[in-house]
Symmetry: C2
């Protein structure tokens, strides 16, 4: 059996090139995890996800505990078998989505109770139950239950919330069932307050957890604040443990976070954007709905070797999106996840070569160049 561990293979400034070992195989870091909300990365079969180069996916505890239910997934052999994903899976704690999706939620020291947004049934999520659910799902990485304060909260409220999350981290650590290849991550909170972020990171570091996440930074505080928080937080975290920035983000957010010492990411952006016709390319995001693409025989991204770009024209993708054909979201989600994976592979190579700054500069120049001009322009 594999020990759960993260090996540092190379560094470049604050950035790290590593390898996470889990019960379901290794993950090259920096890594991007596509989000498999309800046991499926939306509009993609698991073999499509694997073909993009993704090694690890994220599952949402909130969605899965409500439907089909954690005990049911366990009975069916665990989440890997259920969704036919053989690679590692990280599950969130459910806390973030309880606060954003559920109804009539009430939070106190013991945990949070809420009504399901699906059928109105009442549920409770404590640190212990969250860990138990993630165990039932058979997650390779379990996330601690935390409270994620909204942007704009004052220092004293964020301080109380952050310390609640610390106490919950300890309860999660006690509840976590140790076994080879499985790990529990603590989550640094503290909003935009440097002293609180430092306190949270130090207290969690003292717990010697298998990994650490930075939470509370995909709630509208802006890229500059995110980067500043990472600059304050990352140096406080153990150098030999993986660091995961939750829910982030756009390609330039990811590059900046890698340069500040982050190893793992997840975000719905590539799949959600794909469903609305937006695609990420080496020359920035483009919207396939735009009429400029309707007779464009060129691929979406001439630099991309995904099945979408090597098979279809922009004109066809435009047609699918305009016609609301399911194949549109299918092909664009696939391209976007592929784009994110290629981005991560590029970052890993640049760190190995000690050229991350130059590489990031070249990426930014491409994004700012804007889309290739229309054929008849």
């Amino acid at each position: 059996m594999t020990d759960f561990r993260w090996d540092k293979l190379a560094t470049d400034g604050m950035s790290r090139r590593g390898r996470l070992h889990t019960a379901h195989g290794p993950v090259e870091t920096p890594a991007f995890m596509p989000v498999g909300t309800a046991a499926t990365v939306k509009a993609m079969a698991p073999w499509d996800v694997a073909q993009t180069g993704a090694q690890m996916v994220l599952g949402n505890t909130y969605h899965l505990m409500l439907r089909p239910g954690a005990e049911r997934v366990a009975k069916l052999g665990g989440l890997h078998r259920f969704m036919a994903w053989d690679g590692p899976i990280l599950t969130d704690s459910g806390g973030f989505q309880v606060m954003s999706l559920a109804q009539l939620r009430q939070l106190d020291e013991t945990g949070v109770t809420f009504k399901s947004h699906i059928d109105g049934s009442t549920h409770a999520l404590s640190p212990e139950r969250s860990v138990e659910i993630q165990d039932l799902l058979d997650a390779d990485v379990t996330m601690q239950l935390d409270e994620c304060p909204p942007a704009g909260w004052p220092h004293d409220k964020v301080a109380d919330s952050m310390r609640l999350s610390l106490r919950w981290a300890e309860r999660c650590q006690r509840a976590f069932r140790e076994r080879p290849g499985y790990g529990l991550f603590g989550i640094v909170q503290g909003g935009v307050y440097d002293d609180l972020r430092r306190e949270s990171a130090r207290e969690l570091s003292a717990m010697d957890l298998p990994g650490y996440a930075v939470g509370g930074l995909a709630v509208g505080e802006g890229q500059a604040e995110t980067f500043r928080v990472l600059e304050v937080t990352c140096p406080e975290l153990p150098a030999d443990k993986p660091r995961y920035l939750m829910g982030v983000g756009r390609p330039d957010d990811i590059v900046g976070a890698v340069m500040r010492g982050i190893d793992m990411f997840d975000c719905v952006l590539p799949t959600r954007s794909g469903r609305t016709g937006q695609a990420f390319t080496a020359r920035g995001p483009i919207n396939l709905k735009n009429a400029r693409h309707r007779e464009d025989t060129r691929p979406l991204d001439p630099n991309c070797d995904c099945a979408t770009c090597t098979t279809f024209s922009r004109a066809y993708l435009h047609h699918l999106i305009r016609s609301e054909e399911m194949l549109g979201p299918m092909l664009l989600s696939r391209h976007n996840v592929h784009y994110y994976q290629a981005l991560m592979a590029g970052l890993r190579g640049a760190i190995e070569r000690g050229e991350l700054t130059e590489h990031a500069q070249a990426l930014a120049e491409g994004w700012h160049a804007g889309d290739i001009p229309p054929i008849d322009a």
Copy 2:
């Protein structure tokens, strides 16, 4: 260049095992063509369609003339390149869908005018324009424009309509641009009236067209009527030309029609059913939405070797359909089209062996046996 022709390889009673040669390759018959309405077989990538064993797909002239437009498809290199389908394509004439989908339609001797259901724009479809559009799309098989009378019309109205379709067939034949590997099919009409079906079939046969369709039989007249019309019609058609039953049908409809001399089929049923959670199996249709499947770890159809059945459990498919996840329709459409293709392959083999009657009997017994019992029953 390949001549457009159909080779008869074997017969068993009225049924025929053959091979259709087209500009884009051969099609083993009896064949089922998945419907690629708007230049996509819904919820399936073209490589998924090919993997089911399908060799030929159908495109809808009505949808494509409105969006993206026939001239635009031609400019983009034709329908094959546009949708990345290298195999043969048959397009319908647009007439049937004008009558079922368009608004403010007016039909006279010259053709039909209508308003688009998408944007209200006015369009005209004459026999000549229908052939021209299908030429612009680069269809391997072009269908004549016809009028498809609704079920329940009296003899005299159906007679007038059938003779209008005959005059339109002649105009389509004059308008059709002959080239190697491309063929025009006439359409037998005449409703449920034997004398009219015979007259239509004889007049069309005298035109020596590359192929013949039987139209007007997917409009609610019932299986017994359909079979009776085929028994009247098929003997009147040339023995050396392919016969295509339009818009049919369920697996048992197809088996019965093959036994009465039909070679080609199309139907939205496998893909449309897939999108609502219904799946075809060796033991009849089942609805994955049903709660009986929610903890069933067995494959949808244990006899099926498609990617859906070899990878996922019924429990997972149930979860996807209940959660309205796009992967549900993707996986079920794929299975259903695979099921239809396997059905056709089975029929072809049975005709070759001269065992079609026994084979049809065995299929029917399976369908009537009903679904495998629940695990805990």
